[in-house]
Amino acid sequence: MIVKKILDVVGDLRITFWLLVATVALCVTGGLVASKNYVLINSLNSMRIQDWLLTQGVSNFGKSWWVFALLFVLLLLGVNTVACACSRILALLPKRKSMGWRAFSVTITPSLIHILFLVALAGHLVSSAFSTQVKFPLARGSEYELPGGTRVTVADIRTDYYPETSYMKNRIKEVTAILDIQESEGSSQASVSYGIPLSIRGWNLRLDMKKKRGNYQETAAADEVARSEKLLKKTEETCNKAHMYHVQPKVDRAPEEFLLAQYDPGFRYVMGAIVLIIIMMIWYFPQAQRNHA
């Protein structure tokens, strides 16, 4: 009885509602802060969240307080969701025979969706806290060793441009790196491009860009370079990588591309849970609407 009482109090739907409202407010605040402080907030994507909070977060608390608050509110929302789902499932289970299978499955679906929401949330936490990212400059002939002992050699780099007859002429369409991969079982060859990442033993290999290769010819006049430098300064705090990628001249900008290896243990849980949530919602809402009518 005490457990039930605790679950009812902690899992109260009024608390759920206000936690959701708080989450919205913090996400909107975060969006505003991120749009003004792109470099700081974007650095969260390449660092483990606990490391970021203890370094960047603490030293820039005026701009990062909402991340702390958001994590705290999401933690509370997680606890509230566990309590709410458990309380409802415990109440419904004894009624499953009297309700009939169909009515029972419709009634219990929202609780299952909530549990899957928790799995997705936990997956995000695992991704944020335990992901590992290693970045190598991409150059022909370079050799890298991934954690785990796999050796990767860049055999070739191919750059495809859009046709000369189009408005996209001189712009990069795709970059493909041909990799020689040496593992304990033997060696093989594979390619990685911006559009198609490569998966090796749980590591996701993809190309990344930092300083952007331009669409201008190397013969770009000095004033073009100056204009570009000015643009770079202007866009330093912007998320428009595409802009920088296309306007920056090729000159004096090597290395520009990276091979990025990432291990993300939470990704499969996030995606699996979201897929199941969507399937359940598509099944549940028409049933609920019919029952309501």
Binding site: A34, P197, I277
Partner: protein
């Protein structure tokens, strides 16, 4: 190479949509329906044509939110008039399509040259789900506002918000796959993703209202209106920001 002529189709679609709005105002339902159908056809052809704006086929242009949104809203109105109960309050959704169309006419028509990471089938799927979700949210908010003003309608807005949420969840899934493929993370800490999360949590909160005491239809309608204003602010802030980006093809 002259691909800019394709924009004439957008102006034609806008004119047909506006004429349909005039017919709705004078309660001539059949001509309004026929004109909206013609407008939707012209706009669909325009969206397809946007794929070739750069002189080479790039699908991203076909799915740009600003241009797809009025089409999605008009399609919603048409779908209801074709298969629904043909209630007059739904005709007024055409006004919403006209408003979004006016913004699309004002907006730069070209496409932002995409980096290789942005050319992905998952990007197309993302926008194909996100824009109809926005259309459902806006149409739901609009119907809720009319219900509050006691012009017409009842809780017609509720199913729109529910299906908008489903579409939006699909957009979050496809967006996460696209993000993982291109940037190695399913959620990127940045304004765009945080705003998407804000919208998703807003409608998650809405779905919980029916279990709360004191939230009658009228209060839920107010929430639907406020939620659609949140979507409007967040999505249009992003569109306005992107107006400054380099564009080609118009």
């Amino acid at each position: 190479m002259n691909v800019h002529g394709i924009h004439i189709l957008l102006y034609a679609a806008a004119a047909l949509c506006a004429l349909s709005g005039v017919c709705v105002f004078f309660k001539s339902r059949k001509p309004a329906y026929a004109l909206l159908c013609a407008g939707v056809l012209a706009h669909t052809a325009y969206q397809a044509g946007r794929g070739w704006l750069s002189g080479v086929f790039i699908p991203n242009g076909m799915f740009e939110g600003v241009f797809l949104l009025p089409l999605a809203v008009a399609l919603l109105a048409l779908a209801h008039q074709s298969y629904g109960e043909r209630r007059p309050d739904w005709d007024s959704v055409t006004y919403l399509a006209i408003a979004f169309m006016a913004f699309a006419l004002y907006y730069p028509h070209g496409i932002i040259p995409p980096t290789p990471q942005k050319i992905s089938i998952w990007a197309a799927f993302f926008f194909l789900f996100e824009v109809p979700a926005h259309a459902c949210f806006f149409a739901g908010g609009w119907l809720a506002l009319r219900a509050l003003m006691k012009l017409e309608g009842g809780n017609d807005f509720h199913p729109l918000l529910v299906w908008g949420f489903v579409f939006y969840s699909l957009a979050q899934f496809t967006g996460a796959v696209w993000c993982y493929q291109g940037w190695s993370v399913p959620f990127s800490w940045g304004a765009r993703h945080l705003n998407s999360a804000a919208i998703w949590f807003t409608y998650a909160a809405y779905l919980h209202l029916r279990f709360l005491k004191g939230w009658d239809m009228r209060r839920k309608a107010w929430f639907a209106v406020a939620a659609s204003l949140i979507v409007l602010c967040l999505s249009f802030a992003s569109y306005l920001h992107e107006m400054n980006f380099e564009r080609i093809g118009g």
